[in-house]
Symmetry: C2
Subunit: 85 residues, 2 copies
């Protein structure tokens, strides 16, 4: 069964308090190589068939249920292959 | 500046209430193509140089701060190229 991945990230211009919290914790833990952190969500959707109709449905789903388009960007990919954003 | 992505997902055998909640909402919204949903986290880490030392640090970071290895799996990739899991 194909798997469709939807990655949802805060837009670049939006403050990301979760990412800031992770970034702030790094020096205390002895990590110094990372200069910035952004935290988002990853959804793995199982589908019977990754055809065009299903992908259109997933894009609509990503836009309405999985992300808030005002503050977040999403990207849809099928088993590693990027399909749209 | 290279970007390292860490994807953190609940292990397959672990119950995922967030994913179940999303899955449960789909039929009500008219989506029927998706048979299962798992929800996890995605971290985008900015680094100055994605060399071996940095990757080793990011793996340690993913294991200790970004994921709970008892219930979650993580995967590290550099700008799309999978580096380890």
């Amino acid at each position: 069964m194909p798997r469709i991945v939807v990655d949802v990230m805060p837009k670049a211009e939006i403050l990301d308090p979760q990412g800031k919290a992770v970034h702030g914790a790094l020096p205390r833990l002895g990590f110094n190589a990372v200069t910035d952190v952004r935290q988002g969500k990853r959804f793995e959707l199982q589908v019977d068939d990754a055809d065009e109709a299903t992908l259109a449905e997933v894009h609509k789903l990503a836009e309405t249920l999985l992300s808030n388009p005002v503050i977040e960007d999403y990207a849809v990919s099928v088993e590693g292959a990027e399909v749209g954003a």
